[in-house]
Amino acid sequence: MSQPAERGQRRIRIQVDGIVQGVGFRPTVYQLARSLDLVGWVRNDSEGVEIEVAGPSDRVQAFVSRLPQEAPPLAKIVRLEVKERPWEPGDGFHIQASERTGSRTTLISPDVSICEDCRRELLDPSDRRFRYPFINCTNCGPRYTIIRDVPYDRDNTTMDCFPMCAACRAEYEDPRNRRFHAQPNACWQCGPLVWLEDAQGHRLAEKDEAVRQAIRWLAEGKIVAVKGLGGFHLAVLATDEAAVARLRRRKIREEKPFAVMFASREAVQGVCQVHPEEEALLLSRERPIVLLAKRRAVRPGHSEIAPSVAPRNRFLGAFLPYTPLHALLFHDAPYEALVMTSGNQSDEPIVTDNAAARDRLRNIADVFLLHNRDIHIRCDDSVVRSVRGKPRPLRRARGYVPVPVVLRESGPVVLGVGGELKNTVCLTRGRYAFVSQHVGDLENLETLRAFEHTIDHLQKILEVHPRLIVHDLHPDYLSTQWAEGQTQPARLAVQHHHAHIASVVAENGWDGPVLGVALDGTGYGPDGTIWGGEFLLVDGARYERLGRFSHLPLPGGERAIKEPWRMALAALWCLEGEEAEKVHGEILSRWPEKERRVVFQMLRSGFNSPLSSSCGRLFDAVSALAGIRDRITYEGQAAIELEQALEPDAGAYEARITRDEGLWVLDVFPLLEEVARDVRRGTRPGIVSARFHNGLVRAIVHLVERLRQETGLSAVALSGGVFQNIYLSRRLEEDLIDQGFQVLIHEQVPPNDACISLGQAHVGREHLKR
């Protein structure tokens, strides 16, 4: 076949790997090749996209250099390889049918918020999809949540039961169309539809009328369950205090803040201060919930958000409509802000199917806005904050999953099963680490099932089986028990804070040893104490504990975590012993005498009072001592409110650095003593908070300084739930950088326990290397 190359002619084969399927990549290739007058073909294969182009050398070269720049917005090219081919003439440029053999290594796109083109068509009365709630194109729409299997074709999605009409099919087959091979392509004629039901299951309205009626229900302060992309939302008017309070009561969610969806960027700015990086996050195609500082007073023309949306919180979780249905719910509506909280009861996983919604949300929602496009994989809204201009994920799910974390090098397939709370799992393949969406707290059956389903699904769509399962050292974590229940393959237990630091190392592609500062709640330590304020030397599969926070007992175990006042008692007990009541009677009198007596007795006898070096529990103790929070209703509340209360102050409490049994100890007792003294003097809680934060940062920097002298290492990795605290994060990062440290932080996965699975997988791989 092949003929001798004509002078100046060239034929090449290009292999492109990454997120290149289902994102309009082939039409881009087609148009680029046609514009350069090249011949050849393009097709999807199991690895990604394969291209052959032939023509004059200079134009072939132009093709190769322009391809990455002109790739469609959703494409993410990870590898682009060019091979010379024998010359062969051809006629025209063609898009070929998919290749379906080989391993399924192509990457799946996350779900993407509605694009500007689709939004314009949605609201254009002359468009055939005018007000169609499922409008999408190759640049936007559902992906991960509707995919049942790979390759990504309509047959393998929950859209398989909607055969395309002639008009949609024509778009789908036309390489020049924005909907060329858009798998969820649909319209009023052929696609999914919405309807409105009451709590008894009676249909109230269908199609566009359903949306219009839902708006009226919402405007009246009613609670509407809205089926979304990765699960149900419960929506209610964010400006109506009575309505929000009713939602709290029915959902049995006492104080944990609700997120608010705003009609537009302007609407957000009316209520919150929005910095440019935050605005970029809000408008990004991932459309996460962004934690923003509330304005002291709303701008004229905007309404006050009801106080019980985020009680005692200076921040508000804000996001923008990301599906066409959301856009319609805000279009021509008499409101510009809706509470949009996950459709579930208290701590259960978010509801995803209609039957479960009717059953589980019956006592919460007044009406249900349902549709018949199934959600295959549950995916909550993602949550981010902005720290020093960079995103700090707090919950990584919709919009981000399943985009992999790209690792420094390739390696065997390893499964990390994560922690107990805020669980995620992580499966590696080649250079990629696929961290799952937020699964939730593994304390109930429903979440455990979601955990198992997520592991199965990840293995299926990635078509790999792990050589090693990595779990936490805590024997009672359900994820540990699950791992121990697997007969295959080998297992490895990794200490919680080793995993925390390893996840920062993994996502930064760091090579070699690093100093790790894990500021966390609680994690199981191999010495029988509970860890959580740790200074580690982490080097691949190996770690060494170099230092820790002082030990505080947790009187009542988990009870002490739910009741920070017990931590305050523990602190005063450690400071004064039997004299505590005498010395700190004024502070102690805040808590009932009978309970106090029992807790002191537990501290005296050590009964159910495990020792802990936790940093999170130190925050709890200070929060309770300062009079901010005695009992929590959601995880981390005492520490969050301590941060929220902070009023700028230059003071800093003094902590000491000491040695104990070969470890550096950040001795927090002088600091606690100063907290107690300031509280007795009547210092405002916000000032106590500032001085505590400042003192803690200073002490940590001092200790890390010692470690640098001792080890010669000057790279510091930061992880743990405490790094959700922006004031502490910012100060600590800046001070460390000022001291000449190289600081590694989380930008892709959250610093809380959602990062554990990635760290476990990383340690597992390093372990297999040995």
Binding site: S346, L421, L478, G521, M602
Partner: protein
């Protein structure tokens, strides 16, 4: 001067003989023990023999609702009763710490004798050893028991079937909290009493009326949650408990909350968990409620086909909290 146990009491000589005849033989008096031979020779009724043994090392040895002596009788009787046996004979072995007050020993032995008498069970053989101070904690007691299982009765942890219901004869966590509150010196208003009691009569009534009963278990160490986990694993079934139907005394619940414990993991010494087919559950409850130890009997859960090997608590708001078997003491899992 207080009379105490000395090493002489364990010498095998005259002091030993006096201790046995004046304390033990008098209290436990019966014909078989009176034989005074190396072993007791006993008549055996028709049926299969059930045997069990257990050692008791509780601190404090005297607690509200009983002491280590009555507990040692009830515990072994209950173990026999759980296999459907009618308990007949017990043996008692004592390890005494040098310095144990004789009055305390007498109080314990009296309680033991009374518990055996009330249960119509004979203590037919015994043994006593004395160890130097510090080698034991006051007093350890071992009891072994023999009972007889009527023909045709077949109970076991492997027989739970989906659809069956889980019954209990009364409140949860009383014994463990009585012990803990005493040990921690917790001055809680109102004293929590141990539920220590012999269950064989209640169980006898139950089995007579409902021979269909599949499983009987006494939720002692590890509590209701651990015992149900064992049954779920042995039978390969799931078990659901209903939070709103769990019988827990307010003072027990309050003490658990203060100490940070879950009553479902706290020990009981007078409770039986019965797994019965749904058709006989009403009758079983009725029979149990007629007995003084079963007045608060109720259904607390259900056996399911799904989630084999797992026990979950359906909470008041409708979720299912997993109640797994804990490896050791309850260490915080919250991060």
């Amino acid at each position: 001067m207080e009379r105490t146990i000395t090493l002489d009491h364990g010498s095998g000589g005259r002091a030993t003989h006096e201790l046995i005849s004046q304390v033990f033989a008098q209290a436990f008096h019966n014909d078989y023990l009176g034989q005074m031979n190396d072993s007791a020779v006993l008549p055996v009724p028709e049926g299969r023999l059930a045997m069990s043994t257990d050692s008791y090392v509780v601190d404090p040895v005297i607690f509200p609702g009983g002491n280590i002596g009555s507990l040692a009788v009830h515990g072994t009787i209950n173990d026999l009763a759980m296999s459907g046996a009618r308990p007949l004979y017990l043996t008692a072995g004592f390890v005494l710490e040098e310095g144990l007050p004789l009055d305390l020993l007498e109080e314990i032995v009296q309680a033991m004798a009374q518990a055996a008498q009330e249960a119509r069970v004979a203590i037919v053989a015994g043994d006593t050893k004395v160890v130097p101070k510090g080698k034991a904690d006051k007093i350890f007691i071992n009891t072994a028991g023999v009972g007889v299982v009527p023909p045709g009765l077949e109970l076991g942890g492997q027989y739970a079937r989906p659809g069956d219901v889980v019954l209990i004869n009364g409140t949860i966590g009383d014994h463990g909290m009585a012990i803990l509150c005493t040990r921690q010196g917790l001055a809680l208003e109102g004293k929590i009493q141990s539920d220590s009691a012999a269950l064989h009569d209640l169980v006898g009534d139950l089995l007579q009326a409902c021979p269909e009963v599949r499983v009987l278990r006494d939720p002692t160490r590890g509590g209701v949650a651990t015992t149900l986990n064992e049954i779920a694993r042995q039978s390969g079934v799931g078990i659901r408990l209903f939070e709103e139907s769990l019988p827990i005394r307010d003072d027990v619940a309050g003490a658990c909350e203060l100490l940070g414990l879950d009553p479902l993991y706290v020990a009981n010494e007078g409770k039986v968990l019965a797994v019965v087919p749904p058709a006989v559950s009403e009758k079983a409850l009725e029979v149990m409620r007629r007995h003084p130890l079963g007045r608060e009997a109720r259904c607390i859960g259900q056996v399911t086909e799904e989630d084999p090997g797992r026990v979950a608590l359906r909470t008041r708001i409708g979720g299912h909290r997993l109640l797994d078997m804990l490896r050791g003491e309850q260490l915080p899992r919250i991060c």
